[in-house]
């Protein structure tokens, strides 16, 4: 104001007005232009992120569909190649000519047919167990995992052990199945690719977080490898793990131990959703 009061001549006033107004307008226009560019950049970046996420979802969905198809084919093959011939053989023993046979042969045929039917029952039971392990259904994740590790250890090829530190309350059965499948897939990968001599699994909780950690001394993956495989067309099992964990809103981390000797795989998920119905029912 003091400065302006010092202005007396018309020319000076015109200059102040002209440059002041032009300056303010230029600043305003500059601001608007900056906003438009900034917004366009942000929106483009967000769209790119969205596209990447969609691609990732698509890959996971494809992997899940492929895996489902493979599983169906395996079950179809088991039924067609194993159960089919067994039942056909049993039928042969009990054909139309059966009544014309002598008693001794009849008894022998019945015995053979019974044996074959027992085998078929066992086969179908195995198929059904591979779809839903009875230990998991009846006794929970801890027992199912212990059972799985005992079987691996029992084969003599690898030292496998598991320990659940804090599993007093069972998770929802569908969530237990998902975690069990993820563990199965991880174990399968370790057995197939890592050449490890031991696997150790530990379970723990921290607040609402539920952790499962696998240690092994073989050749493993790091997080970068996992992400790279997740984006590529290979690594169907890993994509399947990802899509399963997505259902649980869980995370998986692949890393090397501090000592650089062991590989660690950590599965982390929120237990809050799982505990809520139990708390409410109480």
């Amino acid at each position: 104001m003091i400065l302006l009061q010092a202005l007396n001549s018309d020319n000076n006033i015109s200059m102040v007005l002209f440059f002041g107004t032009i300056g303010m307008l230029a600043l305003t226009i500059g601001l608007i232009v900056f906003i438009s560019f900034h917004q366009r950049k942000v929106i483009r970046y967000q769209q790119q992120l969205q596209r990447m996420e969609q691609d990732q979802q698509k890959t996971l969905l494809n992997a899940s569909i492929r895996l489902q198809e493979e599983e169906r084919q395996r079950i179809a093959a088991d039924l067609h190649d194993d159960a089919g011939p067994l039942l056909a053989t049993a039928r042969l023993y009990l054909n139309e000519n059966f009544v014309n046979l002598d008693k001794q042969t009849q008894l022998q045929s019945i015995y053979n047919a019974k044996q074959i039917i027992d085998d078929t029952i066992q086969l179908i039971r195995n198929i059904s167990h591979s779809l839903m392990p009875p230990t998991l259904k009846n006794f929970g994740l801890e027992s199912a995992v212990n059972d799985l590790f005992q079987k691996i250890s029992g084969s003599g090829s690898m030292n496998a052990s598991s320990r659940f530190h804090d599993y007093r309350e069972r998770l929802k059965s569908e969530n237990e199945l998902i975690i069990f499948r993820v563990i199965q897939e991880l174990i399968n990968n370790i057995l197939k690719h890592s050449n490890a001599s031991f696997i150790h699994l530990t379970q723990n909780t921290s607040g609402n977080r539920f952790f499962i950690r696998l240690h092994h001394d073989g050749r493993g993956l790091t997080q970068a490898d996992f992400e790279k495989l997740g984006k590529s067309n290979v690594g169907l099992g890993l994509k399947n793990i990802q899509s399963r964990l997505k259902v649980l809103q869980g995370k998986i981390f692949f890393e090397k131990d501090m000592s650089q000797t062991y590989y660690k795989v950590t599965i982390e998920m929120n237990r809050e959703e799982d505990l809520r119905p139990a708390i409410e029912s109480n």
């Binding site: 202005l7 006033i13 007005l17 303010m24």
Partner: protein, 223 residues
């Protein structure tokens, strides 16, 4: 010619609002409609009545206060931040106190100081609104909403007239006549931007696909 054009341009946002936004529940748009209508009526009154013509500067001073308050109210409605809302109330209260302290009914001078203070406050509010709108957000925010365009219009108006208001007291009647055209030009530009805002409202509400991508900054409570 320019003053007449400026007066006529005030009709444009009024017509656009009646045509395109009359059913809107966004209070901010209604406030701007009321502001445009009163502004037009005021200009007509000043231009058409002898008394108005004679007491033009006094009327401008009083209208300046009304203009500040209505724009401050618009910002109060469209701002989500509590701090900003509190500041708007505080600034408005201080402005009113200063206005009445400096008010002299016998004054035949344009109240340069209060108009400039009002412009600076509105300028700060406009910038604060824009900065808070562009704050870090995880979702893409389309800033080009009717409310944002109105803020741009206000920003243009106050930034282009600030220096005129600052030196208005140093101007003679002839100079005032000469330089007041800046105000008229700003008025025309602002009215065109306001009209575009109302047109944009119509466009966004006619195309729900566009609407789904845009976030209006108006608080949900204001709808």
């Amino acid at each position: 010619m320019v003053p007449k054009l400026s007066l006529l341009s005030s009709l444009l946002p009024i017509i656009f609002f009646i045509l395109f936004c009359f059913k809107t529940s966004i209070k901010g748009l209604w406030v701007i409609f009321i502001y445009n209508t009163t502004s037009f009526l005021f200009d007509v009154f000043v231009a058409a009545s002898r008394w108005g013509m004679h007491h033009k500067l006094l009327l401008w001073n009083v209208y300046g206060m009304f203009e500040f308050l209505i724009i401050a109210y618009f910002f109060f409605l469209v701002t989500k931040q509590r701090l900003l809302r509190f500041l708007i109330l505080l600034f408005s209260a201080l402005y009113l106190i200063f206005f009445f302290l400096s008010y002299r009914s016998d004054s035949d001078q344009f109240n340069s100081m209060m108009s400039s203070i009002g412009s600076v406050i509105i300028l700060i509010l406009s910038l604060s609104f824009i900065i808070t709108s562009l704050g870090p957000s995880s979702i893409p925010v389309d800033v080009f909403t009717p409310v944002f365009l109105i803020v741009v219009g206000i920003l243009f108006y106050v930034s282009s007239t600030l220096f005129l208001y600052l030196i208005a007291n140093n101007l003679s009647n002839d100079e005032m006549q000469k330089y007041w055209r800046i105000n008229d030009y700003s008025n025309i530009l602002t009215n065109v931007i306001f009209s575009s805002a109302f047109l944009l409202y119509r466009f966004q509400h006619k195309n729900p696909t566009h609407e789904s991508h845009s976030v209006d900054f108006t608080s949900p409570n204001d709808r």
